[in-house]
């Protein structure tokens, strides 16, 4: 076990845990954002650089600080390590820089993007971005293409996090897609004339942190916050069959895998569950999907209000009015 201090809070984690996961164990605002790391995709992480943190003390044995900021998603903790995440201006500056770089070639077409409301970059831009762009050159654009009959690739929006290529590599047999070319000419692509049509390819849509890979059976059907998300399952011979149904009335508009609070899929689902079962009668509904209250999706959420929680919140506000300590900043996601 190793004791680590992140933004002044100590946590004990098993050896080999990454700084990011140690921070996630503490939770809250100090958890570094992550655009490319994905817990259950081996070798993911390290690429987007938004999770950079400062290691102010390497370990008890070697207390020297690390010379550069490190990617928290790929750096293991050491006993006695002291990390600065949100508390370091240098870290915030670096994250801001990364957001600026990511937005250079990512169009802000949130008003028409299917991923609006579920997009990590949107959240990140809100928290770390600048209001105006300093970039006045031409931007990279691509034609939209179908990669398989169920998935549309909107490469212009891709931030090259490589998650979908890890899914292809680790989850599907007969991999036919990856990254072509170098630098800012890189693109996600299938081999010439190949298309992605194996049983688990749909999971690429769920891992995409932006709206570059979209579900052709759902595109433009609705904004997510107008849908009613329900946890549901079916008896599936290929996967766990545990899904979220995104419904409107009795219509199932979209089926996706269930995600944890960091937006990561907990169990991958097969394409049959995702694309071919769009009738309510195909599913056993387990209940409403819990959506974090600070997500835009909760705008129309149908969970019953927790009156006890509401009462506590009102009391907290009253305390504040009376001059108690400042309440924590509201999350930017609230206003998304």
């Amino acid at each position: 076990m190793a004791k680590v201090t992140i933004d002044g809070i100590e946590v004990e984690v098993p050896d080999g845990t990454t700084i990011l996961n140690a921070a996630r164990k503490i939770g809250g605002e100090l958890v570094p954002p992550a655009m490319c790391y994905y817990t259950n995709l081996k070798d993911s992480g390290g690429k987007c650089r938004v999770c950079l943190v400062k290691v102010a003390q390497g370990s008890t044995k070697d207390p020297r600080p690390m010379p550069k900021l490190v990617a928290s998603c790929r750096t293991p903790v050491m006993d006695g390590m002291v990390v600065q995440s949100k508390s370091s201006p240098e870290v915030l500056e670096a994250r801001k820089a990364v957001v600026e770089f990511l937005l250079i070639n990512h169009p802000l077409d949130c008003p028409i993007c299917d991923q609006a409301g579920e997009c990590d970059l949107q959240n990140l831009a809100y928290e770390h971005g600048a209001a105006a762009t300093r970039y006045e050159e031409d931007r990279r654009t691509f034609e939209k293409i179908d990669i398989g009959d169920k998935i549309k690739l909107h490469m212009t929006r891709c931030i090259l996090c490589y998650r979908c290529t890890f899914v292809a590599d680790q989850l599907t047999n007969n991999r036919v897609h990856g990254v072509m070319s170098r630098g800012d000419k890189s693109e996600i692509s299938t081999y010439i004339k190949e298309s992605i049509d194996n049983d688990f390819s749909g999971n690429m849509i769920d891992v995409c942190p932006v709206g570059a890979l979209t579900d052709k059976t759902f595109r433009f059907k609705s904004r997510v916050w107008f849908t009613n998300p329900l946890d549901a399952h079916r008896d599936c011979p290929k996967c766990s069959g545990k899904v979220i149904l995104w419904t409107k009335g009795d219509d199932v508009l979209r089926v996706s895998a269930r995600k944890d609070k960091y937006g990561e899929v907990t169990e991958y689902i097969c394409n049959e569950c995702r694309f071919e079962h769009k009738k309510m009668s195909d599913w056993t509904v387990d209940g409403p999907r819990h959506i974090e209250h600070n997500s835009v999706i909760s705008q129309n959420h149908y969970e019953r209000t927790d009156l006890l929680k509401l009462k506590k919140e009102i009391e907290r506000q009253i305390e504040f009015e009376r001059g108690a300590e400042l309440p924590p900043e509201p999350s930017p996601k609230l206003t998304n």
């Binding site: 987007c48 990511l102 170098r182």
Partner: protein
């Protein structure tokens, strides 16, 4: 004449063949190492020699070897980095073309020291003619019992392979090189783990530059003490410098580390002074990725002492007034050179060569290139100059591999030392639209030019 360790016999006719090479004492270090020394002794000897990696970063070779995980029961590998893609650097190709057996000799001794039974030469694909030269020399060595099973009747066996790359600068970065050697896309790996623990095929691996390995036979033959006598302080031995640009005698020179920069540029033994009797404006001392220095700073250190061709002296003053010896690609610019244009050329290169894995380098290199393109072509704004500094700063230190830094350092240093020239481009767009702008009317700023 300075001492020559690497190129001593380079002009002997037929030196690329085994018999001639052996007639000049070739492969003596293999005899000595395999028959009279232990691997530990060899590693200690290389450590004591203070040999620093000649590929760019200057990391002590012996120390790197000592990191090799020798407890592992996996095979160990030596990989020679012959990718040589740094603009301005063209020394390894000369060494391999003229003295293929020197590299092979160095590899045999190094592999013995490291406990490696296989060694690879990862060579840039454009050097196809050298691949053939090396393969021929390797065949000769096999036939003479210097490679293969039980070398010179000892227990030690070794196989060497030559592997041409497909031509990407990033494949010179040691972990991208290993990916490429494994047959994958040449993307740098995240460190740790370092190659010494998990390198080629996840086995302990040392990656060294051609010139570093070619220096090993001399160290073993004459002993580390004697090798250390040449050079100054921690910059020991000799170094190949590929000199190019506005000099009378561009070429590859073996210098003793510690030679004054001024002597290197102006003496007839080396560059022979600036061509056409012009004045020196700037030097990029160690390949395109190191900070550029104006004439006054390349000749004198921050303390005003003569600047020497050593790792320490060139770096004196940090990046504010110093630079790096790097891979030894010494690019000289005279008074007619346009710093903005040169910087744009470098930026174009890094933009083209970024592997694209990490966002700061993928997006930042393209951004810098486009802004520099505008400034050089008379479409820049004053704010662009600070914008470039800011973008460079946001890339530096935030990327997976040092290519990001390599793209950022030249930008930051060029603007630090030649800001007026960037401002001139913005103020006089009509003048700089003519591609030969400074050839007709050299741009002079105070303290920049030095007479030969």
């Amino acid at each position: 004449m300075g001492k020559k360790f690497l190129l001593e016999h380079v002009n002997v006719p037929g030196i690329e063949t085994l018999p001639v090479y052996q007639s000049k004492g070739g492969y003596a270090s293999v005899e000595k190492a395999l028959k009279t020394m232990t691997p530990d002794q060899l590693i200690e000897e290389v450590k004591f020699s203070d040999l620093r990696g000649r590929g760019g970063a200057g990391f002590p070779t012996g120390l790197k070897w000592s990191f090799m995980d020798r407890k592992s029961d996996k095979p160990r590998y030596l990989v020679v980095n012959a990718d040589e893609s740094e603009p301005g650097t063209f020394k390894d190709r000369y060494l391999m073309e003229k003295l293929p057996h020197l590299l092979i000799e160095g590899m045999i001794v190094s592999c013995f020291a490291l406990g490696a039974k296989s060694g690879y030469i990862y060579i840039r694909g454009e050097y196809m003619y050298i691949v053939r030269i090396l393969e021929k020399a390797i065949d000769e060595a096999y036939q003479a019992g210097l490679l293969g099973k039980n070398i010179l009747g000892t227990d030690f066996s070794l196989d060497l392979y030559v592997h041409p790359g497909a031509g990407a600068y990033i494949c010179g970065e040691e972990t991208a090189l290993l990916e490429s050697l494994e047959g994958k896309r040449g993307n740098p790996r995240l460190k740790p783990p370092f190659p010494a623990i998990a390198g080629l095929y996840a086995c302990p691996t040392v990656v060294n530059n051609v010139e570093s390995i070619a220096a090993v036979p001399t160290i073993i033959n004459i002993t580390a003490d004697k090798y250390n006598d040449v050079g100054i302080g921690k910059s020991s031995g000799t170094k190949l410098i590929s000199a190019s640009g506005h000099i009378n005698k561009p070429g590859i020179y073996e210098i003793e580390l510690g030679l004054p920069v001024e002597e290197f540029i102006y003496s007839d033994e080396y560059c022979g002074g600036i061509w056409k009797g012009r004045k020196l404006k700037a030097v990029v001392a160690g390949g395109s990725s190191v900070p550029i220095l104006p004439a006054n700073l390349i000749l004198k250190t921050a303390k005003g002492e003569p600047r020497l061709m050593t790792y320490e002296s060139l770096a004196d003053g940090g990046f504010v007034s110093g630079t790096m010896l790097g891979s030894g690609g010494f690019i000289v610019m005279d008074e007619t050179a346009c710093i903005v244009r040169n910087l744009w050329t470098f930026a174009r290169f890094y933009h083209h060569e970024s592997c694209g894995q990490c966002s700061p380098c993928r997006e930042g290199t393209g951004w810098m290139e486009k802004v520099l393109h505008r400034i050089e072509h008379g479409h820049g704004h004053m704010e662009d100059i600070d914008l470039l500094v800011s973008v460079a700063k946001k890339i530096e230190g935030n990327t997976i591999c040092p290519l990001g830094d390599a793209a950022a350092w030249p930008v930051a240093s060029a603007i630090r030392h030649f800001r007026e020239e960037f401002e001139y481009h913005v103020k006089y767009p009509e003048k700089v639209k003519d591609p030969k702008h400074f050839e007709k009317e050299p741009f002079v700023s105070e303290g920049m030019l030095v007479n030969g």
